[in-house]
């Protein structure tokens, strides 16, 4: 896996992180193209299944980006998402995928800078970790 470029899936809440991504664009802030943004109506709408399937399909990292604590548009979707992410992290350990590949982050719609920063930091972290064991196994299987 020379020149490894991680694939990162970011589930972004429409009311905060997705708008923050727009803000980052308006501010001409760049962030790595490795991050594939999936817009969701609320971070609480992200299911364990979405995350597990992302890894199964070869994602190297996944994060869920919701509103700041106490600021969820739907009251408490972000805290539900945080609990779900913690639950999936344990499942990933069971499967044998490093739980550090999954993260829950929060930001407000105005935090374009934070959006770009999170995307960059996550990309760099996963780049240092290398491909996910599933991504690597899929690549080996295709090469064979």
């Amino acid at each position: 896996m020379d020149n490894f470029e991680p694939v990162i899936v970011a589930f972004c809440c429409h009311y905060c992180a997705y708008t923050a991504a727009d803000m980052a664009g308006s501010q001409r802030l760049s962030y790595p193209p490795n991050v594939k943004v999936v817009r969701v109506p609320c971070s609480g709408k992200v299911d364990a299944m979405h995350i597990v399937k992302a890894f199964e399909k070869g994602a190297d990292g996944v994060y869920v980006a919701g509103c700041l604590e106490g600021d969820c548009h739907f009251k408490n979707g972000n805290s539900k998402a945080a609990r779900m992410v913690a639950y999936v992290s344990k499942y990933m350990e069971e499967i044998g995928i490093e739980p550090e590949r999954l993260a829950m982050v929060t930001m407000s719609a105005g935090m374009g800078y934070r959006f770009a920063q999170v995307a960059t930091e996550m990309t760099e972290k996963i780049r240092r970790m290398g491909p996910s064991p599933i991504h690597a196994a899929i690549a080996t299987g295709k090469a064979a």
Binding site: M49, V52, F55, Y91, I95, G96, I134, A137, G141
Partner: protein, 222 residues
Amino acid sequence: MITAERKPLEELIDYIRPFRRLLLVGCNECVTVCAAGGRKEVGLLASGLQMALLKAGASIEVREHTLERQCDPEYVEELVPMIDGVDAVMSMACGCGVQEVARRFKDKPVFPALNTKFMGASERQGVWAERCQGCGDCLLGKTGGICPIARCAKQLMNGPCGGSTGGHCEIGDDVDCAWALIWERLKALGLQENYVEITPAKDWRSGGGGGPRKIIREDLAE
């Protein structure tokens, strides 16, 4: 409902390692409600098993199917068209469902994916607690609707033991003393005389002590 929890992935992988094609069968009843073996858990487990095996350099094809109810032969029959195409079956139902599938498909290995726990109720979102042990001779009418069989660690029939402190059981502060609850409830109902009435030793034959139990409704049985 009957509650259950998924077994550790490692144990499940040990079961299925020799096989190439697996049918993973969920149940839409109790185990769906307690988030252990419904359609979503079937999907999560199928992905988890495939990834864990892929990582170990092996592979398995997992077919997913969730039955309306796994403890009734009529529903289990739905698996007939799928069964020839797989080497083994893993059931995400309670022990009743696993046994029903094993009984129907005698030439296929059937493995449980869950540990069946107890008959319980939902205390709040995501929390289930034991409420009934199926003793076959319900006492709830005398105990204010609180079961001393399922909720007292010693299954005492005539008041609390010496380990009851401040309404808590001696096994842990997070466990209510069933008899403290019963007393408070009887007081609230003005039925304290139920408490002084001595309950004789329980006949456990109806609770499984007389061997496996069966119910026959003669008007319905064919």
